[in-house]
Symmetry: C2
Subunit: 258 residues, 2 copies
Protein backbone atom coordinates (compact mmCIF):
# COMPACT_ATOMS: atom_id res chain seq x y z
CA UNK A 1 0.00 0.00 0.00
CA UNK A 2 3.01 2.38 0.24
CA UNK A 3 2.84 5.40 -2.02
CA UNK A 4 5.31 8.17 -1.43
CA UNK A 5 3.04 10.71 -3.14
CA UNK A 6 0.35 10.02 -0.57
CA UNK A 7 0.66 12.76 2.03
CA UNK A 8 -0.54 11.72 5.49
CA UNK A 9 -0.98 14.33 8.19
CA UNK A 10 -0.62 12.98 11.73
CA UNK A 11 -1.77 14.87 14.80
CA UNK A 12 -3.14 14.17 18.28
CA UNK A 13 -4.20 15.87 21.50
CA UNK A 14 -1.80 14.30 23.99
CA UNK A 15 1.10 16.28 22.56
CA UNK A 16 3.83 15.58 20.04
CA UNK A 17 6.02 13.64 22.50
CA UNK A 18 3.36 11.08 23.48
CA UNK A 19 3.76 7.37 22.85
CA UNK A 20 0.49 7.17 20.96
CA UNK A 21 1.48 9.54 18.18
CA UNK A 22 4.80 7.74 17.78
CA UNK A 23 2.99 4.44 17.21
CA UNK A 24 0.65 6.12 14.74
CA UNK A 25 3.54 7.67 12.80
CA UNK A 26 5.23 4.27 12.56
CA UNK A 27 2.15 2.66 11.00
CA UNK A 28 1.51 5.59 8.66
CA UNK A 29 5.05 5.34 7.29
CA UNK A 30 3.95 2.04 5.74
CA UNK A 31 1.35 3.92 3.70
CA UNK A 32 2.95 7.16 2.54
CA UNK A 33 4.86 10.33 3.29
CA UNK A 34 4.11 11.38 6.84
CA UNK A 35 4.03 14.96 8.13
CA UNK A 36 3.37 15.54 11.83
CA UNK A 37 1.83 18.73 13.20
CA UNK A 38 0.83 18.21 16.80
CA UNK A 39 0.38 20.23 19.98
CA UNK A 40 3.52 21.15 21.91
CA UNK A 41 1.71 20.27 25.16
CA UNK A 42 -1.24 18.10 26.23
CA UNK A 43 -4.51 19.38 24.78
CA UNK A 44 -6.90 16.68 25.93
CA UNK A 45 -10.56 17.59 26.29
CA UNK A 46 -10.12 20.70 24.15
CA UNK A 47 -13.07 19.70 22.00
CA UNK A 48 -13.32 21.66 18.78
CA UNK A 49 -11.60 24.69 20.30
CA UNK A 50 -9.66 26.98 18.00
CA UNK A 51 -7.30 29.74 19.05
CA UNK A 52 -8.43 33.23 18.17
CA UNK A 53 -7.27 35.31 21.13
CA UNK A 54 -3.59 34.37 20.92
CA UNK A 55 -1.18 34.11 18.00
CA UNK A 56 0.04 30.63 17.11
CA UNK A 57 3.59 29.34 16.85
CA UNK A 58 5.09 26.42 14.95
CA UNK A 59 8.46 24.89 15.81
CA UNK A 60 10.15 22.32 13.57
CA UNK A 61 11.25 19.34 15.67
CA UNK A 62 13.41 16.34 14.87
CA UNK A 63 12.00 13.55 17.01
CA UNK A 64 10.72 11.03 14.43
CA UNK A 65 13.00 9.14 12.03
CA UNK A 66 12.74 10.58 8.51
CA UNK A 67 9.55 12.50 9.27
CA UNK A 68 8.96 16.23 8.92
CA UNK A 69 7.40 17.29 12.22
CA UNK A 70 6.19 20.49 13.85
CA UNK A 71 5.15 21.30 17.40
CA UNK A 72 2.27 23.78 17.45
CA UNK A 73 1.33 26.07 20.33
CA UNK A 74 -2.40 25.68 19.61
CA UNK A 75 -5.19 23.16 19.89
CA UNK A 76 -5.53 19.96 17.82
CA UNK A 77 -7.91 21.77 15.44
CA UNK A 78 -5.40 24.60 15.05
CA UNK A 79 -2.76 22.00 14.13
CA UNK A 80 -4.82 20.70 11.22
CA UNK A 81 -5.62 24.19 9.98
CA UNK A 82 -2.01 25.35 10.18
CA UNK A 83 -0.74 22.18 8.55
CA UNK A 84 -3.00 22.61 5.52
CA UNK A 85 -2.40 26.33 5.05
CA UNK A 86 1.22 26.86 6.09
CA UNK A 87 3.09 23.55 5.96
CA UNK A 88 1.57 21.31 3.31
CA UNK A 89 0.14 24.14 1.19
CA UNK A 90 -2.43 21.57 0.03
CA UNK A 91 -4.90 19.17 1.58
CA UNK A 92 -3.29 15.91 2.68
CA UNK A 93 -4.64 12.62 1.28
CA UNK A 94 -5.38 11.37 4.77
CA UNK A 95 -5.39 12.84 8.26
CA UNK A 96 -5.09 10.60 11.30
CA UNK A 97 -5.25 11.67 14.92
CA UNK A 98 -4.09 9.77 17.99
CA UNK A 99 -3.45 7.16 19.11
CA UNK A 100 -5.19 8.77 22.06
CA UNK A 101 -4.27 7.60 25.53
CA UNK A 102 -7.84 6.95 26.72
CA UNK A 103 -11.32 6.22 25.38
CA UNK A 104 -13.13 8.48 22.94
CA UNK A 105 -16.22 6.39 22.44
CA UNK A 106 -19.80 7.58 22.75
CA UNK A 107 -20.34 11.23 23.70
CA UNK A 108 -16.60 11.77 24.13
CA UNK A 109 -16.56 12.53 20.44
CA UNK A 110 -17.62 16.09 21.35
CA UNK A 111 -15.10 16.61 24.17
CA UNK A 112 -12.14 15.00 22.51
CA UNK A 113 -9.32 16.99 20.94
CA UNK A 114 -8.25 13.82 19.11
CA UNK A 115 -11.58 13.46 17.38
CA UNK A 116 -11.99 17.17 16.78
CA UNK A 117 -8.73 17.27 14.84
CA UNK A 118 -9.97 14.46 12.61
CA UNK A 119 -13.36 16.18 12.40
CA UNK A 120 -11.75 19.42 11.25
CA UNK A 121 -9.94 17.52 8.49
CA UNK A 122 -13.17 15.84 7.40
CA UNK A 123 -14.93 19.22 7.30
CA UNK A 124 -12.35 20.16 4.68
CA UNK A 125 -13.13 16.97 2.72
CA UNK A 126 -9.94 15.22 3.85
CA UNK A 127 -10.37 11.49 4.66
CA UNK A 128 -9.84 11.32 8.41
CA UNK A 129 -9.70 8.85 11.29
CA UNK A 130 -9.36 9.36 15.04
CA UNK A 131 -7.77 6.46 16.93
CA UNK A 132 -8.01 5.93 20.69
CA UNK A 133 -6.84 3.18 23.01
CA UNK A 134 -8.76 2.49 26.23
CA UNK A 135 -5.64 2.85 28.35
CA UNK A 136 -4.91 6.23 29.95
CA UNK A 137 -1.35 5.31 30.87
CA UNK A 138 1.34 7.32 29.13
CA UNK A 139 3.27 4.02 28.98
CA UNK A 140 0.42 2.11 27.29
CA UNK A 141 1.48 -0.81 25.08
CA UNK A 142 0.66 0.34 21.54
CA UNK A 143 1.45 -2.88 19.67
CA UNK A 144 -2.08 -4.40 19.58
CA UNK A 145 -3.39 -1.00 18.48
CA UNK A 146 -0.88 -0.78 15.64
CA UNK A 147 -2.32 -3.93 14.08
CA UNK A 148 -5.83 -2.45 14.00
CA UNK A 149 -4.66 0.98 12.88
CA UNK A 150 -3.01 -0.77 9.93
CA UNK A 151 -6.12 -2.78 8.98
CA UNK A 152 -8.54 0.15 9.28
CA UNK A 153 -6.28 2.60 7.48
CA UNK A 154 -5.94 0.09 4.63
CA UNK A 155 -9.71 -0.13 4.29
CA UNK A 156 -10.08 3.64 4.50
CA UNK A 157 -7.60 4.17 1.66
CA UNK A 158 -9.18 1.44 -0.46
CA UNK A 159 -12.92 1.93 0.13
CA UNK A 160 -13.27 5.22 1.99
CA UNK A 161 -16.32 6.82 3.55
CA UNK A 162 -18.45 9.55 1.97
CA UNK A 163 -16.95 13.03 1.66
CA UNK A 164 -17.07 15.13 4.84
CA UNK A 165 -17.47 12.04 7.05
CA UNK A 166 -14.80 10.47 9.28
CA UNK A 167 -14.18 7.45 11.46
CA UNK A 168 -13.96 7.26 15.23
CA UNK A 169 -11.97 4.16 16.16
CA UNK A 170 -11.57 2.90 19.73
CA UNK A 171 -9.40 -0.05 20.68
CA UNK A 172 -10.01 -2.10 23.84
CA UNK A 173 -7.26 -2.34 26.45
CA UNK A 174 -6.53 -6.02 25.93
CA UNK A 175 -3.63 -8.20 24.83
CA UNK A 176 -3.66 -8.71 21.06
CA UNK A 177 -4.86 -12.32 21.23
CA UNK A 178 -7.90 -11.31 23.29
CA UNK A 179 -9.17 -8.70 20.83
CA UNK A 180 -11.98 -10.44 18.96
CA UNK A 181 -12.12 -8.27 15.84
CA UNK A 182 -13.65 -5.05 14.53
CA UNK A 183 -17.27 -3.93 14.77
CA UNK A 184 -18.98 -1.11 12.85
CA UNK A 185 -21.12 0.66 15.46
CA UNK A 186 -23.23 3.64 16.31
CA UNK A 187 -22.36 6.17 19.03
CA UNK A 188 -23.82 5.05 22.39
CA UNK A 189 -26.17 7.48 24.14
CA UNK A 190 -24.30 8.50 27.25
CA UNK A 191 -23.02 11.51 29.13
CA UNK A 192 -20.81 12.59 31.97
CA UNK A 193 -22.20 13.67 35.31
CA UNK A 194 -19.73 16.08 36.74
CA UNK A 195 -18.27 16.03 40.18
CA UNK A 196 -15.75 18.54 41.36
CA UNK A 197 -13.05 17.87 43.88
CA UNK A 198 -13.04 21.01 46.06
CA UNK A 199 -9.71 22.00 47.67
CA UNK A 200 -8.03 24.96 49.39
CA UNK A 201 -4.84 26.52 48.06
CA UNK A 202 -2.03 27.63 50.44
CA UNK A 203 -3.76 31.05 50.67
CA UNK A 204 -6.96 29.39 51.83
CA UNK A 205 -8.83 30.10 48.62
CA UNK A 206 -11.10 27.46 47.11
CA UNK A 207 -10.37 25.78 43.81
CA UNK A 208 -11.94 22.88 41.93
CA UNK A 209 -10.73 19.93 39.91
CA UNK A 210 -13.17 18.48 37.43
CA UNK A 211 -13.86 14.78 37.81
CA UNK A 212 -16.90 12.91 36.59
CA UNK A 213 -18.89 9.74 36.25
CA UNK A 214 -19.68 8.29 32.87
CA UNK A 215 -23.38 7.45 32.53
CA UNK A 216 -24.25 4.97 29.77
CA UNK A 217 -28.01 5.16 29.22
CA UNK A 218 -27.95 2.95 26.12
CA UNK A 219 -28.62 -0.78 26.36
CA UNK A 220 -28.22 -1.35 22.60
CA UNK A 221 -25.93 -4.11 21.37
CA UNK A 222 -24.94 -2.10 18.28
CA UNK A 223 -23.08 0.66 20.13
CA UNK A 224 -19.38 1.44 20.38
CA UNK A 225 -19.45 0.92 24.14
CA UNK A 226 -21.03 -2.52 23.77
CA UNK A 227 -18.42 -3.54 21.22
CA UNK A 228 -15.55 -2.36 23.41
CA UNK A 229 -16.96 -4.07 26.51
CA UNK A 230 -17.08 -7.29 24.55
CA UNK A 231 -13.52 -7.15 23.31
CA UNK A 232 -14.00 -5.62 19.87
CA UNK A 233 -12.42 -2.60 18.21
CA UNK A 234 -15.26 -0.12 17.57
CA UNK A 235 -15.54 1.89 14.35
CA UNK A 236 -18.17 4.63 14.30
CA UNK A 237 -18.68 6.63 11.10
CA UNK A 238 -19.22 10.26 12.08
CA UNK A 239 -20.86 13.26 10.39
CA UNK A 240 -21.33 16.90 11.42
CA UNK A 241 -25.01 17.62 11.04
CA UNK A 242 -26.39 17.97 14.56
CA UNK A 243 -29.91 18.87 13.44
CA UNK A 244 -32.59 16.91 15.30
CA UNK A 245 -34.69 16.31 12.18
CA UNK A 246 -37.66 14.77 13.98
CA UNK A 247 -37.85 17.92 16.11
CA UNK A 248 -37.89 20.17 13.03
CA UNK A 249 -41.17 18.56 12.02
CA UNK A 250 -42.56 18.66 15.57
CA UNK A 251 -41.67 22.30 16.13
CA UNK A 252 -43.05 23.40 12.77
CA UNK A 253 -46.37 21.78 13.64
CA UNK A 254 -46.59 22.72 17.31
CA UNK A 255 -44.81 26.02 17.89
CA UNK A 256 -47.07 28.70 16.47
CA UNK A 257 -45.25 32.02 16.48
CA UNK A 258 -47.99 34.30 15.21
CA UNK B 1 -44.83 33.31 32.86
CA UNK B 2 -42.85 34.39 35.96
CA UNK B 3 -42.26 31.67 38.52
CA UNK B 4 -39.75 32.33 41.26
CA UNK B 5 -39.24 28.60 41.83
CA UNK B 6 -38.05 28.24 38.24
CA UNK B 7 -34.24 28.33 38.38
CA UNK B 8 -32.64 29.65 35.18
CA UNK B 9 -28.90 29.29 34.67
CA UNK B 10 -27.42 31.92 32.36
CA UNK B 11 -23.97 31.61 30.81
CA UNK B 12 -22.11 32.64 27.64
CA UNK B 13 -18.72 32.57 25.99
CA UNK B 14 -18.02 36.27 25.55
CA UNK B 15 -17.46 36.68 29.28
CA UNK B 16 -19.59 37.80 32.20
CA UNK B 17 -19.20 41.52 31.46
CA UNK B 18 -20.47 41.37 27.87
CA UNK B 19 -23.56 43.23 26.71
CA UNK B 20 -25.14 40.07 25.38
CA UNK B 21 -25.32 38.25 28.69
CA UNK B 22 -26.75 41.36 30.36
CA UNK B 23 -29.60 41.44 27.82
CA UNK B 24 -30.20 37.73 28.33
CA UNK B 25 -30.32 38.11 32.12
CA UNK B 26 -32.86 40.92 31.79
CA UNK B 27 -35.23 38.78 29.73
CA UNK B 28 -34.78 35.71 31.95
CA UNK B 29 -35.75 37.73 35.03
CA UNK B 30 -39.25 37.86 33.50
CA UNK B 31 -39.42 34.06 33.71
CA UNK B 32 -37.82 33.03 37.00
CA UNK B 33 -34.94 33.19 39.44
CA UNK B 34 -31.76 33.80 37.50
CA UNK B 35 -28.29 32.57 38.48
CA UNK B 36 -25.34 33.56 36.30
CA UNK B 37 -22.15 31.51 36.03
CA UNK B 38 -20.07 32.76 33.12
CA UNK B 39 -16.43 32.94 32.07
CA UNK B 40 -14.29 35.67 33.64
CA UNK B 41 -12.74 36.38 30.21
CA UNK B 42 -13.70 35.86 26.56
CA UNK B 43 -13.91 32.15 25.68
CA UNK B 44 -15.17 32.36 22.12
CA UNK B 45 -14.43 29.43 19.82
CA UNK B 46 -13.64 27.17 22.76
CA UNK B 47 -15.98 24.51 21.38
CA UNK B 48 -16.81 21.80 23.88
CA UNK B 49 -13.50 22.25 25.72
CA UNK B 50 -13.38 21.38 29.41
CA UNK B 51 -10.56 22.20 31.79
CA UNK B 52 -8.71 19.19 33.15
CA UNK B 53 -5.11 20.40 33.34
CA UNK B 54 -5.79 23.42 35.57
CA UNK B 55 -7.89 23.89 38.68
CA UNK B 56 -10.96 26.08 38.35
CA UNK B 57 -11.92 29.17 40.34
CA UNK B 58 -15.27 30.80 41.01
CA UNK B 59 -15.64 34.42 42.16
CA UNK B 60 -18.95 35.86 43.28
CA UNK B 61 -19.61 39.16 41.51
CA UNK B 62 -22.23 41.82 41.98
CA UNK B 63 -22.82 43.24 38.51
CA UNK B 64 -26.47 42.36 37.83
CA UNK B 65 -29.40 43.81 39.81
CA UNK B 66 -30.82 41.21 42.19
CA UNK B 67 -29.04 38.31 40.51
CA UNK B 68 -26.61 35.85 42.07
CA UNK B 69 -23.63 35.77 39.72
CA UNK B 70 -20.24 34.06 39.54
CA UNK B 71 -17.26 34.60 37.28
CA UNK B 72 -15.55 31.31 36.44
CA UNK B 73 -11.95 30.85 35.32
CA UNK B 74 -12.89 28.01 32.95
CA UNK B 75 -14.62 27.41 29.65
CA UNK B 76 -18.37 27.78 29.01
CA UNK B 77 -18.83 24.03 29.50
CA UNK B 78 -16.94 24.22 32.81
CA UNK B 79 -19.34 26.99 33.89
CA UNK B 80 -22.38 24.77 33.41
CA UNK B 81 -20.77 21.84 35.19
CA UNK B 82 -19.64 23.95 38.15
CA UNK B 83 -23.00 25.68 38.39
CA UNK B 84 -24.88 22.38 38.65
CA UNK B 85 -22.51 20.71 41.10
CA UNK B 86 -21.24 23.56 43.31
CA UNK B 87 -23.64 26.50 43.09
CA UNK B 88 -27.16 25.29 42.40
CA UNK B 89 -26.66 21.81 43.90
CA UNK B 90 -29.41 20.71 41.51
CA UNK B 91 -30.17 20.87 37.82
CA UNK B 92 -31.69 24.20 36.79
CA UNK B 93 -35.08 24.22 35.05
CA UNK B 94 -33.60 25.99 32.04
CA UNK B 95 -30.11 26.90 30.85
CA UNK B 96 -29.62 29.70 28.35
CA UNK B 97 -26.34 30.77 26.80
CA UNK B 98 -25.53 34.05 25.04
CA UNK B 99 -26.58 36.35 23.64
CA UNK B 100 -23.47 35.70 21.60
CA UNK B 101 -21.89 38.63 19.81
CA UNK B 102 -21.66 36.96 16.38
CA UNK B 103 -23.26 34.17 14.34
CA UNK B 104 -23.39 30.56 15.49
CA UNK B 105 -25.39 29.15 12.61
CA UNK B 106 -24.48 26.12 10.54
CA UNK B 107 -21.21 24.34 11.39
CA UNK B 108 -20.36 26.98 14.00
CA UNK B 109 -22.37 24.85 16.39
CA UNK B 110 -19.23 22.74 16.87
CA UNK B 111 -16.78 25.63 17.34
CA UNK B 112 -18.98 27.78 19.51
CA UNK B 113 -18.51 28.04 23.25
CA UNK B 114 -22.00 29.54 23.49
CA UNK B 115 -23.62 26.49 21.95
CA UNK B 116 -21.37 24.04 23.75
CA UNK B 117 -22.51 25.42 27.11
CA UNK B 118 -26.14 24.87 26.11
CA UNK B 119 -25.19 21.47 24.71
CA UNK B 120 -23.58 20.46 27.98
CA UNK B 121 -26.79 21.38 29.82
CA UNK B 122 -28.88 19.38 27.37
CA UNK B 123 -26.60 16.36 27.80
CA UNK B 124 -27.63 16.50 31.45
CA UNK B 125 -31.31 16.61 30.44
CA UNK B 126 -31.64 20.34 31.22
CA UNK B 127 -33.79 22.27 28.71
CA UNK B 128 -31.30 24.54 26.96
CA UNK B 129 -31.06 27.26 24.33
CA UNK B 130 -28.09 29.04 22.78
CA UNK B 131 -28.80 32.56 21.48
CA UNK B 132 -26.59 34.44 19.03
CA UNK B 133 -26.91 37.78 17.27
CA UNK B 134 -25.26 38.29 13.88
CA UNK B 135 -23.38 41.36 15.06
CA UNK B 136 -19.83 40.96 16.30
CA UNK B 137 -19.72 44.41 17.84
CA UNK B 138 -19.35 44.52 21.62
CA UNK B 139 -21.75 47.49 21.47
CA UNK B 140 -24.42 45.60 19.48
CA UNK B 141 -28.00 46.78 20.01
CA UNK B 142 -29.66 43.91 21.90
CA UNK B 143 -33.24 45.21 21.91
CA UNK B 144 -34.55 43.38 18.79
CA UNK B 145 -32.91 40.21 20.10
CA UNK B 146 -34.62 40.53 23.47
CA UNK B 147 -38.02 40.35 21.82
CA UNK B 148 -37.18 37.03 20.13
CA UNK B 149 -35.42 35.61 23.19
CA UNK B 150 -38.66 36.27 25.09
CA UNK B 151 -40.88 34.58 22.48
CA UNK B 152 -38.68 31.51 22.03
CA UNK B 153 -38.08 31.04 25.76
CA UNK B 154 -41.83 31.19 26.34
CA UNK B 155 -42.39 28.42 23.79
CA UNK B 156 -39.55 26.35 25.23
CA UNK B 157 -41.03 26.52 28.72
CA UNK B 158 -44.53 25.75 27.46
CA UNK B 159 -43.92 23.08 24.78
CA UNK B 160 -40.27 22.09 25.11
CA UNK B 161 -38.18 19.82 22.93
CA UNK B 162 -37.39 16.14 23.62
CA UNK B 163 -35.05 15.33 26.50
CA UNK B 164 -31.34 15.71 25.70
CA UNK B 165 -32.05 18.02 22.76
CA UNK B 166 -31.51 21.80 22.65
CA UNK B 167 -32.15 24.83 20.45
CA UNK B 168 -29.66 26.88 18.48
CA UNK B 169 -31.17 30.32 17.89
CA UNK B 170 -29.59 32.95 15.63
CA UNK B 171 -30.96 36.45 15.21
CA UNK B 172 -30.27 38.56 12.11
CA UNK B 173 -28.53 41.90 12.48
CA UNK B 174 -31.52 44.02 11.51
CA UNK B 175 -33.73 46.70 13.06
CA UNK B 176 -36.69 45.11 14.84
CA UNK B 177 -39.22 46.17 12.20
CA UNK B 178 -37.20 44.46 9.46
CA UNK B 179 -37.08 41.04 11.14
CA UNK B 180 -39.75 39.00 9.37
CA UNK B 181 -40.35 36.32 11.99
CA UNK B 182 -39.01 32.96 13.18
CA UNK B 183 -38.19 29.90 11.08
CA UNK B 184 -37.54 26.34 12.30
CA UNK B 185 -34.56 25.17 10.25
CA UNK B 186 -31.90 22.55 9.74
CA UNK B 187 -28.17 23.22 10.09
CA UNK B 188 -26.71 24.33 6.74
CA UNK B 189 -23.85 22.26 5.33
CA UNK B 190 -20.87 24.57 5.42
CA UNK B 191 -17.36 24.88 6.73
CA UNK B 192 -14.51 27.29 7.26
CA UNK B 193 -11.47 27.35 5.01
CA UNK B 194 -8.64 28.59 7.10
CA UNK B 195 -6.22 31.31 6.24
CA UNK B 196 -3.49 32.42 8.56
CA UNK B 197 -2.11 35.89 8.74
CA UNK B 198 1.66 35.38 9.07
CA UNK B 199 3.63 38.03 10.99
CA UNK B 200 7.00 38.57 12.63
CA UNK B 201 7.35 39.43 16.31
CA UNK B 202 9.92 42.05 17.51
CA UNK B 203 12.47 39.20 17.83
CA UNK B 204 11.96 38.28 14.18
CA UNK B 205 10.15 35.04 14.96
CA UNK B 206 7.11 34.00 12.93
CA UNK B 207 3.64 33.81 14.42
CA UNK B 208 0.19 33.24 12.96
CA UNK B 209 -3.29 34.62 13.46
CA UNK B 210 -6.16 32.43 12.42
CA UNK B 211 -8.58 33.98 9.96
CA UNK B 212 -10.90 32.14 7.60
CA UNK B 213 -13.51 32.13 4.91
CA UNK B 214 -16.93 30.68 5.49
CA UNK B 215 -17.92 28.29 2.70
CA UNK B 216 -21.65 27.59 2.40
CA UNK B 217 -22.08 24.52 0.19
CA UNK B 218 -25.80 24.20 0.85
CA UNK B 219 -28.37 25.70 -1.52
CA UNK B 220 -31.36 24.48 0.50
CA UNK B 221 -34.10 26.93 1.44
CA UNK B 222 -34.75 25.15 4.75
CA UNK B 223 -31.40 25.98 6.37
CA UNK B 224 -30.51 28.37 9.16
CA UNK B 225 -28.28 30.38 6.84
CA UNK B 226 -31.08 30.79 4.29
CA UNK B 227 -33.49 31.97 7.00
CA UNK B 228 -30.99 34.49 8.36
CA UNK B 229 -30.12 35.82 4.91
CA UNK B 230 -33.83 36.39 4.34
CA UNK B 231 -34.43 38.32 7.54
CA UNK B 232 -35.73 35.55 9.80
CA UNK B 233 -34.64 34.38 13.23
CA UNK B 234 -33.41 30.78 12.80
CA UNK B 235 -34.21 28.03 15.31
CA UNK B 236 -32.39 24.73 14.82
CA UNK B 237 -33.19 21.82 17.15
CA UNK B 238 -29.90 20.08 17.98
CA UNK B 239 -28.99 16.59 19.19
CA UNK B 240 -25.68 14.90 20.05
CA UNK B 241 -25.60 11.71 18.04
CA UNK B 242 -22.96 12.23 15.35
CA UNK B 243 -23.25 8.71 13.94
CA UNK B 244 -23.46 8.65 10.14
CA UNK B 245 -26.15 5.95 10.08
CA UNK B 246 -26.13 5.46 6.32
CA UNK B 247 -22.40 4.75 6.55
CA UNK B 248 -22.92 2.12 9.26
CA UNK B 249 -24.92 0.08 6.75
CA UNK B 250 -22.46 0.74 3.93
CA UNK B 251 -19.41 -0.18 5.98
CA UNK B 252 -20.99 -3.34 7.37
CA UNK B 253 -21.71 -4.49 3.83
CA UNK B 254 -18.49 -3.37 2.16
CA UNK B 255 -15.65 -3.48 4.66
CA UNK B 256 -14.80 -7.13 5.16
CA UNK B 257 -12.35 -7.51 8.00
CA UNK B 258 -11.74 -11.23 7.87
Amino acid sequence: MFNKNRIILVTNDDGITSGGIRALVEVMQEFGTVVVVAPDKPQSAMGHAITINFPLRLAKVDIFDDVEAYACSGTPVDCVKLAVDKILHRKPDLCVSGINHGANSSINVIYSGTLSAAMEASLEKIPAIGFSLLDYSSKADMSPSKKYVRIITGHMLKSGVPDFHLLNVNIPHLPENQIKGIKICRQAKANWEEEFDERKDPQGRTYYWLTGNFINRDSGTDTDIHALENGYVSVVPVQHDLTAYEDVKFLKENWKFE
